[in-house]
């Protein structure tokens, strides 16, 4: 099986600053890959390397089986969409879309055919005669996607395409990008710092930190089986609860002496499951009332703060000396000072070694 995009031992330095170091990544044909990480971790840099807008310091890049490491951006078979839209302000939408095709010297009727098709797919036909200044943010980003679309390329690169839009438009356009991917079935590499975008769009997510890919997996695995503390804390909102303590064979002793049974947990290597560790539990995995009593670990707690979110309610309490949040359905009445029983199954949580921060 030939990969759509392959990155081999890629390094990139800006002077003495190492942004990417021996990075490897294989992307399948038609896959939707999301590069997710905090701002400044090198996502755009990686995307620019793939696009050919930056010269790599070391390593190779293959697109469609061809080594494109030294190729010009236009010859790589990529289309790119930028956060700031980057539409040519003095050209109409129609000329924005056709600019690349005109540069390549394509025949007029072929250009018209492609522009018409892209405009139809993105529903921007009524805008073709307008200048970018007279478009809304969402319309501009559609045109920017159209500019990549007309090039008829195999690989789409998106650099935070929705970050400049307001929340409502963002979720609308997110669905449209997903629809576009289902229709075109191109390979898409999508950079974002927004975990919701990543979880909703991706076939696989690559979580980056300081230029290193921490975990590359499908959204379900990333969410439920994060490989280290960093990924666990980065993904999920509200974020995972962490309790520090010590593991020994069958139980986990928190720092304040609370003992939590771990018999149900599926350790990668049971022999190594000893010593200082961190238990991570997602807020929605902590159950209330009758459900809680059936869990391997349950206790009575006092609610400190209640945050109604509309669809559900977030409550703050203390377990094993640590502040912990849990979710409840919005129809469950909760209030500060209330006492109730909560519980969870450590099997649905994650244990991380305190020493290496890796999953146990």
């Amino acid at each position: 099986m030939q990969h759509s995009v392959s990155i081999r031992d890629l390094s990139l330095n800006f002077g003495s600053v190492k942004v990417l170091e021996t990075l490897n990544l294989d992307i399948e044909q038609g896959e939707f890959i999301v590069l997710l990480g905090p701002s400044g971790c090198g996502k755009s840099t990686l995307l620019n390397c793939i696009a050919g807008l930056l010269d790599v310091s070391a390593g190779q890049i293959f697109i469609g089986g061809k080594n494109v490491t030294w190729m010009e951006p236009k010859d790589r078979g990529i289309g790119m969409v930028f956060q700031s839209y980057a539409l040519y302000p003095q050209m109409t939408v129609e000329r924005n879309l056709s600019f690349g095709l005109r540069v390549s010297g394509m025949k007029k009727d072929e250009i018209e055919r492609r522009v018409a098709r892209a405009a139809e797919i993105l529903q921007i036909e009524p805008l073709l005669g307008r200048k970018p200044a007279n478009l809304s943010g969402g319309q501009r980003q559609r045109v920017a996607i159209g500019r990549a679309l007309v090039r008829d390329v195999d690989v789409f690169l998106f650099d935070e395409p929705l970050s400049n839009l307001d929340a409502k438009l963002r979720s609308d356009l997110r669905v449209e990008i997903k629809r576009l991917h289902q229709r075109l079935k191109n390979t898409m590499i999508y950079v974002t710092h927004d975990q919701i975008e990543a979880l909703t769009l991706a076939d696989r997510i690559a979580i980056m930190k300081n230029g290193v890919i921490q975990q590359l997996a499908d959204p379900h695995t990333i969410y439920n089986k994060p490989v280290n503390l960093y990924v666990a804390g980065f993904i999920g909102s509200p974020s995972m609860n962490f309790i520090e303590g010590t593991l020994d064979g069958s139980s986990f002793t928190a720092e304040d002496g609370t003992v939590i049974p771990v018999a149900t947990y599926d350790f990668a290597d049971k022999a190594k499951a000893t010593g200082k560790a961190v238990l991570g539990v997602r807020p929605e995995h902590i159950l209330l009332g009758d459900d809680a009593a059936k869990m391997p670990y349950s206790l009575e707690v006092e609610i400190e703060i209640v945050e109604p979110m509309g669809s559900d309610t977030l409550a703050w309490t203390t377990i094993a000396g640590r502040p912990v949040t849990f979710r409840a359905a919005s129809d469950v009445h909760l209030e500060a000072g209330q006492k109730l029983v909560v519980g969870f199954d450590p099997a649905r949580g994650s244990f991380f070694s305190s020493e290496t921060t890796n999953r146990l």
């Binding site: 696009a51 010009e72 040519y88 540069v103 200044a133 501009r140």
Partner: protein, 311 residues
């Protein structure tokens, strides 16, 4: 009935009954100490600048007897264009007595090519420095900027030798070359900063679209750069038109620009000084930068306003 209507319209009672309840826009009295100071300073300064101009124009319309016996600040008794005609066509400017008109055309011949060439090269420089970082581009830029801090006089003699070697000393090409060289640091800085302020992603998008160095420059960058071109234009036209030193050194007698000829008129040792002609000649020489300033000043504002609507 009417009684109740009046009652309803009455202001709500306040403590003293005299104070106005604050509501709506705050009243802005015209004569505040702040405003008085600002306006007096502004008026003072405009007098300071406009008075010499007034004296010059008034004097240029007077006859010599009127100047000799009248008050320098008085208005001319009647508008008399003789001095203007004489300044343009027949006053002696050194060896010849053809007025300022040959100097005007010399200045045009110097200013137009120097402005176009220097702005074009600087624009390409600025664009390349921002978008096509090459090895040593930072150093190149640093040297260029450093060059702008070295006083002109240091370069004068070396440039005389260079133009002599190039066999263009004493020709229009020599002045044009010198003006282009000396315009480079400041103009390059201007364009570099402007292009650096444009979104980098625009350039990247054009690269992905397959456009090359010149295509991006002409089709993407130039159409977005009207405001900065107008600024450069004002800078260059006024600078080159007002130049005296390079004109006198490099142009050669037959190519003297207007400023040099004006100097020859005003400092002429022969006869009694014709103040009205001198004044007319001075206003004529200053007219081009003045017009450029007024015309492109408007364009400039429009350009800035248009550029503000980013795509």
């Amino acid at each position: 009935m009417s009684q109740t209507a009046i009652m309803a319209g009455a202001a709500p009672e306040t403590g003293t009954g005299t104070a106005v309840e604050p509501r709506g826009p705050r009243p802005k009295p015209f004569f505040t100490p702040r405003k008085i100071i600002i306006y007096s300073v502004l008026i003072l300064f405009s007098f300071y600048f406009l008075f010499p101009l007034y004296v010059m124009i008034a004097t240029s319309f007077k006859t010599m007897p009127e100047i000799r016996f009248g008050n320098i600040f008085a208005l001319p008794q009647q508008i008399n264009f003789d001095a203007w005609v004489r300044a343009w066509t027949s006053v002696c400017t050194g060896l010849t007595c053809e007025g300022l008109s040959p100097g005007f055309w010399n200045s045009v011949k110097i200013t137009i090519p120097s402005t176009i060439v220097s702005i074009f090269i600087a624009a390409v420089n600025g664009y390349a420095l921002v978008n096509w970082r090459f090895k040593g581009s930072e150093i190149f830029f640093a040297i260029l900027i450093f060059g702008s801090f070295i006083p002109y006089q240091v370069f004068l003699y070396p440039l005389v030798m260079i133009t002599r070697e190039l066999r263009i000393f004493g020709t229009l090409q020599a002045v044009i070359l010198v003006h282009t060289i000396f315009g480079m640091p400041i103009l390059t800085l201007l364009f570099r900063n402007y292009f650096a302020s444009l979104p980098q992603e625009l350039f990247k998008a054009a690269r992905v679209d397959g456009a090359g160095f010149w295509r991006i420059f002409f089709e993407i960058m130039l159409p977005m750069s009207l405001p900065i071109f107008v600024v450069a234009l004002i800078l260059q036209v006024t600078g080159i038109w007002n130049d005296f030193l390079f004109g006198v050194v490099f142009a050669g007698t037959q190519n003297y620009p207007m400023t040099v000829q004006l100097n020859n008129i005003v400092n002429s040792a022969q006869g009694s000084p014709e103040y009205n002609v001198n004044m007319a000649a001075t206003v004529l020489t200053g007219l081009v930068p003045l017009i450029i300033y007024f015309v492109s000043g408007k364009l400039f504002v429009r350009g800035v306003a248009a550029g503000a609507v980013k795509g």
